[in-house]
Amino acid sequence: MLLAVLFANSDGNILIERFHGVPAEERLHWRSFLIKLGAENLKGAKNEELFVASHKSVYIVYTMLGDICIYVVGKDEYDELALAEAIFAITSCVKDVCGKPPSERLFLDKYGKICLSLDEIVWQGMLENTEKDRVKRLIRMKPPTDV
C-alpha cells in the first residue's frame, strides 16, 4: 500500500498531500515526521537524490526536486525500492509538467496539472502509471494507447 504522497516547499509548508489508508488522526504525525525528516536531511541535497527512512514496517523515500520536497510513504510491497520507482515516476512527471525542476512558484503555477498527473500515477494507494508519456496522455483525456 502506498500510504502517502506529500509535496512540501523548502519551508515545510505542505503543498499537496494524498493519503491512503492512513487514519485521519495519524496524518498530522506523518506530516510532522516527514517535514522534520526533510528539514534535517534535504538541505543541500542534489536534485532527485533519494533519501530513505523507515518507521516500524513502513518505508519512506523522499527527495528534492527544484524547490520542492517530495515524500512517498509505503508498506508491504511498496518497500524502499518500489517507492523509489514511484518517486521516479512522480519526479519525471513533475519535471515534464513544469519543464524543469520546479521552483515553488512554477510548481504552484502548474498545481492543477500536477494534481492530475499524481492522480494517474498513484491511484487509491497503488502505483498506477509510471511512464511519463502515458501520464501525459491520460491527463489530457487520451487513452493510454492511441486509437
Binding site: 506530516r31 516500524k56 508491504d76 512558484r105
Partner: protein
C-alpha cells in the same frame, strides 16, 4: 499539455485572481485547443519565453522587497475563497459551451480547487452538468477528477452531514457545507448513474471518456454493496468482451504505435477494466473473478498485466490450489508467466515472484510436484532479475519471508533452500530449470538456444554476489533494502538453527555442500553440459579456494559492516539490525558491540529508530534464547549510551526476558550485564571523552541525565527483584537453618560465607549496599527496598547480612565503612547518613519480628524436645498465627510464594503442616479462609480436599518464572512494553511516528492554513498584520509526544521475576491470568487460585502493624503506587498522626514553609514529595504553627 498553456499565469494569478473577473490577459499562449492538440513547437517556444519573463519579473520583485511584494500585488486583486471557487463552478457550468468559461475553469477554478483536500458534494450537480455538456477534454479531465474525489470521500472520512474531513482547510469547507445543504448521499447515486452509463457506452468517440468514467467509478467501490455490484457488473461486462486476448494478441503485441484501432481500443479497455477490478474487493471464491484475472496476464498493456498478477497473487494467498489449476499451462515454458519475466514492469515481476512463492510452497499442491517445480523455477529465475526490487523480492520469497506471519519452519526451510539449492538456467527464456532436491527430475530444456548458456549456480552464491554489489550502490534505498534482505537472511538462519534442521556448522558445511554440488553436477549435467559442470565445480572448489557458506557469509558481512559508514541513519539502523540478526549465539560479538557503541554515540539517531533496534533485540531473543546474554550486553550499551532516547519499559522487559532465557549457567552473567551499569562512574558533566567506550555512561543533556537516573533506579529495582532468581537462592529452599546464621554474627565471617556460597547473590548485595549510599535520593530509596526484598527472599547468611546493614544504616553508623565509595551528590544526607531512617525502620521491624519468632520457635522446640512433649493444638495455633501474621507483613514488601514461604524458618515447616492438616487449612488461603476463620472447616473435617502438593515436584526456576508471568503467557500481558514488543514481533506498526519536540523545524499543517487559506487564498489587507506569523509557523509541535519515560516510575513499576505487579495481591492481576499458563499450571498451588486467595486478606484486613507502618499501606497495592515511601500521602496518615522531632534548624524559604528549631517536637500530618506537612505545639520563630518542612529535617518516630 493542452492545459499547460497557462504558463502566463503567475503565482498571484493562480492564488488570488478571481475567475469571475476579467479573463486573464496574461495567458495568450493558452490557445483554446479544446482537443488538446496544439502545435508543439510553437507552444514550446512561447512557453520558454513566457516563463522566462515571468521568472524575471518575479525575481526582480522579490529583490525589491520580498516581504512586501505579495501584499502590494494582492491589493489589486480580489481574494479567492473556497466559496468563490464553488460559485464560479456553478456559474461556468451554466455556460459550459463558451470557450472563455472553459478556459477559466481549466486555468483558474479547477487548479485552485485542487488545493482543497476534499470536495464538497454541493459541487456535484455542477460537475455533472459539465460532464454532460462540456466537450473540452481538459475540463472533462478535471470533472472526472473531482467526481472521483467526491466518490472516494467515503463516509468514514468524508463530508458527512456532521462535517468534513479534518483537513487544514476544513474551516473553508465547513462554511460551504452549511450553505450548500447537499449531502454526499444525495449526489452519489446520480454520479454513479451517470458514470456507469458512460462506462457502458461502446461508441468509439466515447472511448476516452469511457475509460475515465471507469476509473472514477472505481473510487466508489467502498460505498455500498449496490454500487459494488454495479461495478462488478460493468467490469466483468467489459472483460467478457475484451478479456479473451488470445487471438488479438498475436497482432497487437509490442506493436503499439502501429496497432490497429480495434486492438488498441481493446487494449485500453483491458487496462481500464483490470485496473478497476484491482480496486474492487477480492472475491476469492468466485471462479469468474480468477478467470478474468488470469486472462489479464496475457494482456498487452504492462500495467494491466501487473494488476492481474497482483490480483492472482492475492487470491493465491488464500487458495493456491485453484490458482495453480487455473493458471495451468501459463506457467509452463512458453506460457504467459514466462513472458512476464521479461515484461518491462517491475511491480508485475514482484507480483510474479510472490505468486510463484505461494504456489511452490502450497501444501495443497503436494501431490503436484511438477506444478510446484514450474513455479519454483520461475521464482529462481527472478533471482537474476536486473531490478533490485524484483531480485530482493525473490530472495525474500526463497527465504520464506512473505509477510510477518510465516512459521519458523517455513523460514528455516527457506534458509536451507537458499544454502543448498542450485539455479540452473540456460538463458533461453523458456527453458525450465528443475531442482533436484525438489523432485529429482532432470532438467528438460525445451528450446535450447545454444547461444549463451549460463552455468549452474548455487543460489547462495548468486544471492551473495548480488547483495555485495548492491551494498556498493550509492542509492540509499538500495542500501536500506539490501540491509533488510540481510536481516531477513539472519531471521531465516536463526530459524534454521532454532529448529536444529541446520545443525551442521557452516564451516563444515563446505564438504556436504560441495559434495552435494558435485553430486548434482555429475549426476545431472555431465552428459548435458560437461563444460558448464566442470566450470561450476571449479568455481566452487578451485578458483577462490574454499567457498564455504561461512566464507561467503563472512565476506558479505564485511561489506555489510562497511555500510555502517553510510551517512543515512536509517540505513545504518537497518545495518545494525541485520548485524544483530546475523549474529550467532556462540560467535564473538565484540565487533557488533563496538559498532553499536560507536553508532550510539552519534546524536543523530532518532529515538524511534533506537527503540526499533531494541525491539529487534527482543525479536532476536525470541528466535534464539541462547542469545540472552549477548543481547543483554548489547542492551546495556543502549542503557548507558542513550538512556534518554530509549523506551525504558521495553528495555526492562528485555532484561527480564533475557534473564529468564539465560538459563541456569547464564543467569549470573545476565544479571551482571544488566546491573553493571550500577558500577559505572556517573557521567561527568561536560565530559564527552568516553563516547565510544562501552564502559562509560554518557548523558550529555539534562533530559538524558534524568533518564539515566531513572534507568539506574530501574536497574536497582530489577536487581532487587531478580537477584534471587538469578542466584537460585530462596529462603524457602535454603538448607541453612537460621540458627547457623545467628552464630555467624561476626560480620567478616558472614561476608566470606556469603560470597563463597553464592557469588551472584553476594555481588548483588554489595551493589545494592553501595547504591543505598551513593546514589541519588531516589536511587537510595529503591536500593533499600531492593535490599529488604533480598533479605526476605534469601536464606542465611544474606538476610542477616542485610539486617545488619540496614540496622547500621538506620543508625548512620556504616557510613564510615563505605565512605570511600561514597560519591557526594551535594545532598545533605541527614544525621542518619542517608536520610532513609523512616524508610528503614519498618523493614527492620519485620526482620526483627521474624528473628524474634525464630528465636522463640527454637526455644519452644528445645523445650518440647527436652520435655518430650507433643505440641498442643493451642501452641500450634499460636505458631501458625505468627506464621500467618509474618507472611502478611512480609508480603507488604515483596512477593513471596505464600505456600512455601516460612518466615519462622525451615524448622517451622513441619509444625505448620501439622496444624494445617489438622484444621483443614489450605496453604494458599491460610487463616483468612472464612471457613477456617469461623471454624467451619473443623466441622467438615472429613471432606478434606485433595492435597495441592504438587508444588514440590516443580522446578523452582520454572515456578518462579511462571509466577512472574514469564514464558508464553508473558507475551499476552497487557503491559505497554509487551504490547510494543508483540506488535513489533507481529510486524505490525504502520501507525504514525512520534516526532520529538525539539528541533522541529516543520510547520505543521496549522501553517498550511496560514499559507493557503489566509496568505494566499484570502484577502491580503487583513493579512498584512499577521504577515510575520504566516511564514514561519507557531512553534507548538503537533506531533510531539513526550517520551514515555516519565510514566515509567509512576505506576507500572519494574519488571521482576516475581512480577512487577505482584500476582499475590490480586490487584487487577487476575483478569490477565493467561489461559495458557493457567492450564499448564492449573494443578499446582502456584496456580491462579492460590494467588487469588492470598489477595483477599491483604486487601480486606489492615495489616497488624500499627502506626509507623501505616504509611506503607500503599505497598498493599503496588500497582497504585510505587512511590517508595516518599510520596505517600494516603489518607490513613491523618488518622494516626505521627510525631517527629526536628533534627536541625530549618528556616522557612517560602510562604507555606515552616521554620524549625532542632529538637522541636512536631506532629506530622502529611507527606508530599519529600516534604512533611507538620504542626507544632506553639508558634516558632516565624510565628507559624504549621507548614511544610523537608522530610530530612524531621526524624519521625
Amino acid at each position: 499539455m493542452a492545459s499547460g498553456q497557462d504558463s502566463g499565469t503567475t503565482l498571484m494569478d493562480l492564488i488570488t485572481s478571481d475567475p469571475s473577473a476579467a479573463a486573464p490577459n496574461s495567458s495568450p499562449a493558452a490557445a483554446p485547443s479544446t482537443l488538446g492538440k496544439p502545435v508543439n513547437a510553437d507552444r514550446k517556444h512561447k512557453k520558454v519565453t513566457l516563463s522566462q519573463i515571468q521568472s524575471d519579473t518575479i525575481s526582480a520583485a522579490k529583490a525589491l522587497n520580498p516581504a512586501k511584494v505579495l501584499p502590494q500585488k494582492q491589493r489589486r486583486k480580489n481574494p479567492v475563497s473556497y466559496a468563490q471557487l464553488a460559485r464560479s463552478i456553478h456559474e461556468f457550468a451554466a455556460t459550459a459551451d463558451q470557450k472563455s468559461s472553459q478556459k477559466k475553469l481549466v486555468h483558474h477554478v479547477f487548479p485552485k480547487l485542487a488545493v482543497y483536500n476534499s470536495v464538497d458534494p454541493s459541487l456535484a450537480p455542477s460537475l455533472l452538468m459539465l460532464h454532460q455538456q462540456c466537450e473540452d477534454r481538459n475540463v472533462l479531465r478535471y470533472v472526472y477528477y473531482y467526481l472521483a474525489r467526491i466518490l472516494a470521500d467515503s463516509g468514514a472520512q468524508g463530508l458527512s452531514a456532521a462535517g468534513g474531513i479534518p483537513t487544514p482547510n476544513w474551516d473553508a469547507l465547513a462554511d460551504i457545507d452549511a450553505v450548500g445543504g447537499v449531502t454526499t448521499a444525495d449526489v452519489v447515486p446520480r454520479i454513479v448513474g451517470q458514470l456507469s452509463s458512460e462506462a457502458l457506452n461502446t461508441e468509439v468517440e466515447f472511448h476516452a471518456r469511457r475509460l475515465a468514467a471507469l476509473k472514477s467509478l472505481s473510487s466508489a467501490s467502498s460505498r455500498s454493496s449496490d454500487i459494488l455490484d454495479k461495478l462488478y457488473e460493468i467490469v466483468f461486462g467489459i472483460l467478457e468482451k475484451v478479456g479473451d486476448a488470445k487471438q488479438k494478441r498475436k497482432k497487437g503485441i509490442f506493436n503499439r504505435p502501429g496497432g490497429d484501432k480495434e486492438s488498441n481500443i481493446q487494449n485500453n479497455l483491458q487496462y481500464a477494466a483490470i485496473s478497476a477490478l484491482r480496486r474492487l474487493p477480492l472475491d476469492p471464491g468466485n471462479p469468474l473473478f480468477l478467470h478474468r484475472a488470469i486472462q489479464g496476464t496475457s494482456f498487452t498493456d504492462p500495467v494491466a498485466v501487473r494488476h492481474s498478477l497482483a490480483i492472482i497473487s492475492d487470491i493465491a494467498m488464500r487458495d493456491p490450489y485453484s490458482v495453480a489449476m487455473a493458471l495451468g499451462k501459463l506457467a509452463q515454458p512458453g506460457g504467459a508467466l514466462q513472458d512476464i519475466l521479461h515484461l518491462h514492469d517491475v511491480l508485475a515481476r514482484v507480483s510474479l515472484a510472490r505468486l510463484c512463492y505461494m504456489i511452490s510452497r502450497a501444501r495443497s499442491l503436494d501431490e503436484r510436484p511438477d506444478i510446484k517445480s514450474q513455479f519454483n523455477s520461475i521464482l529462481y529465475q527472478l533471482l537474476l532479475d536486473p531490478s533490485d526490487r524484483v531480485c530482493f523480492e525473490a530472495i525474500l520469497c526463497v527465504l520464506g519471508k512473505f509477510d510477518s506471519t510465516e512459521r519458523t519452519e517455513e523460514r528455516a526451510a527457506g534458509w536451507i533452500r537458499l544454502t543448498r539449492e542450485i539455479l540452473k538456467l540456460p538463458e533461453a527464456p523458456s527453458v525450465m530449470s528443475k531442482d533436484k532436491s525438489e523432485d529429482g527430475l532432470p532438467p528438460k530444456p525445451i528450446k535450447e538456444k545454444a547461444a549463451k548458456i549460463r552455468r549452474p549456480q548455487p543460489l547462495i552464491k548468486l544471492v551473495m554476489r548480488r547483495l555485495e554489489s548492491s551494498f556498493r550502490s550509492f542509492s540509499r534505498p538500495v542500501l536500506h533494502a539490501s540491509a533488510r534482505v540481510v536481516q531477513e537472511m539472519g531471521k531465516s538462519r536463526a530459524a534454521a538453527y532454532a529448529l536444529g534442521a541446520y545443525d551442521t556448522d557452516e564451516g563444515t558445511q563446505l564438504n556436504t555442500y560441495s559434495e552435494y554440488v558435485d553430486f548434482v553436477d555429475s549426476d545431472q549435467l555431465e552428459g548435458l553440459q560437461p563444460e558448464a559442470s566442470r566450470k561450476a565445480s571449479s568455481l566452487l572448489n578451485g578458483t577462490g579456494g574454499k567457498d564455504t557458506i561461512a566464507s561467503l557469509l563472512a565476506s558479505l558481512m564485511e561489506v555489510v559492516r562497511t555500510t555502517v559508514a553510510c551517512e543515512c541513519v536509517y540505513v545504518r539502523g537497518m545495518v545494525v539490525k541485520a548485524l544483530i540478526w546475523m549474529q550467532n549465539p556462540h560467535e564473538s560479538f565484540e565487533e557488533l558491540r563496538s559498532i553499536i557503541a560507536s553508532e550510539l554515540s552519534d546524536p543523530a539517531w532518532p529515538s524511534a529508530l533506537l527503540n526499533d533496534i531494541l525491539l529487534t533485540l527482543h525479536a532476536r531473543y525470541k528466535a534464539t534464547p541462547d542469545m540472552a546474554v549477548t543481547l543483554l550486553e548489547i542492551a546495556r550499551i543502549f542503557a548507558t549510551k542513550v538512556p534518554g532516547k530509549i523506551d525504558a519499559d521495553v528495555l526492562q522487559l528485555l532484561w527480564k526476558t533475557c534473564l529468564v532465557g539465560a538459563g541456569p549457567e547464564g543467569k549470573h552473567t545476565a544479571l551482571e550485564a544488566v546491573t553493571i551499569v550500577l558500577d559505572l562512574p556517573p557521567p561527568q558533566p561536560g565530559s564527552m571523552s568516553e563516547l565510544t567506550s562501552v564502559d562509560g555512561v554518557s548523558a550529555s543533556d539534562p533530559k538524558s541525565a534524568l533518564a539515566l537516573q531513572r534507568l539506574v533506579q530501574a536497574a536497582v529495582w530489577f536487581l532487587g527483584e531478580n537477584a534471587n532468581y538469578a542466584a537460585s537462592e530462596y529462603a524457602w529452599e535454603s538448607a541453612t537453618p537460621p540458627g547457623t546464621a545467628l552464630m555467624m554474627l561476626d560480620a567478616d565471617k558472614m561476608v566470606t560465607a556469603a560470597s563463597s556460597r553464592n557469588p551472584t547473590l553476594a555481588g548483588a548485595l554489595t551493589r545494592l549496599q553501595r547504591c543505598a549510599f551513593s546514589g541519588s535520593w531516589e536511587v537510595r530509596i529503591v536500593a533499600v527496598h531492593s535490599l529488604i526484598t533480598l533479605a526476605i527472599r534469601s536464606g542465611e547468611p544474606y538476610r542477616l547480612q542485610i539486617y545488619e546493614f540496614l540496622h547500621a544504616l538506620a543508625q548512620g553508623g556504616v557510613q564510615s565503612q563505605f565512605s570511600e565509595m561514597k560519591i557526594s551528590n551535594g545532598e545533605d544526607q541527614g544525621a542518619s547518613g542517608t536520610g532513609l531512617g523512616s524508610l528503614i525502620s519498618p523493614m527492620l521491624r519485620v526482620l526483627d519480628e521474624m528473628y524474634r519468632a525464630q528465636d522463640e520457635l527454637m526455644k519452644d522446640i528445645r523445650n518440647h524436645d527436652n520435655q518430650k512433649q507433643e505440641w498442643t493444638d493451642e501452641e500450634l495455633k499460636k505458631l501458625y498465627e505468627t506464621h500467618e501474621k509474618l507472611l502478611d507483613l512480609v508480603s507488604l514488601f515483596c512477593f513471596v510464594p505464600r505456600t512455601k514461604y516460612l518466615p519462622i524458618g525451615p524448622t517451622s515447616a513441619k509444625l505448620i503442616e501439622i496444624y494445617r492438616n489438622r484444621h483443614n487449612i489450605s496453604a494458599s488461603s491460610g487463616l483468612n479462609d472464612p471457613a477456617v476463620a469461623t471454624g467451619i472447616s473443623d466441622l467438615v473435617y472429613e471432606s478434606k480436599p485433595p492435597p495441592l502438593e504438587k508444588t514440590n515436584s516443580i522446578d523452582p526456576d520454572l515456578a518462579m518464572a511462571w509466577a512472574a508471568n514469564l514464558g508464553d503467557g508473558m507475551w499476552e500481558s497487557n503491559a505497554p512494553a509487551m504490547d510494543r514488543v508483540n506488535e513489533f514481533l507481529a510486524g505490525a506498526g504502520t501507525d504514525a511516528p512520534d516526532v520529538e519536540e525539539e528541533n522541529i523545524t516543520s510547520q505543521p499543517s496549522a501553517t498550511y492554513d496560514d499559507m493557503w487559506a489566509k496568505t494566499l487564498l484570502e484577502t491580503y489587507e487583513a493579512e498584512e498584520d499577521d504577515a510575520k506569523s504566516s511564514g514561519t509557523s507557531s512553534p507548538e509541535s503537533t506531533g510531539s509526544i513526550e517520551s514515555s519515560i516519565s510514566s515509567h516510575f509512576s505506576g507500572l513499576g519494574y519488571p521482576s521475576l516475581f512480577s512487577s505487579r505482584p500476582s499475590g495481591y490480586g490487584v487487577s492481576q487476575q483478569p490477565e491470568n493467561k489461559p495458557a499458563a493457567g492450564s499448564r499450571f492449573s494443578n499446582n498451588s502456584y496456580g491462579g487460585s492460590s494467588l487469588e486467595g492470598t489477595s483477599s486478606p491483604i486487601r480486606e484486613e489492615p495489616p497488624p502493624y500499627s502506626s509507623p507502618l501505616q504509611r506503607y499501606e500503599s505497598f498493599e497495592n503496588p500497582l497504585a503506587s510505587q512511590s517508595f515511601g516518599s510520596t505517600n500521602d494516603d489518607g490513613n496518615a491523618s488518622d494516626n498522626p505521627r510525631f517527629g522531632k526536628a533534627l536541625y534548624d530549618f528556616t522557612a524559604g517560602g510562604d507555606d514553609e515552616l521554620s524549625l528549631d532542632a529538637g522541636e517536637q512536631v506532629e506530622i500530618e502529611d507527606e508530599v514529595d519529600g516534604w512533611y506537612y507538620v504542626k507544632k505545639r506553639r508558634p516558632g520563630r516565624d510565628g507559624k504553627m504549621a507548614g511544610l518542612v523537608p522530610v530530612l529535617y524531621v526524624n519521625s518516630s
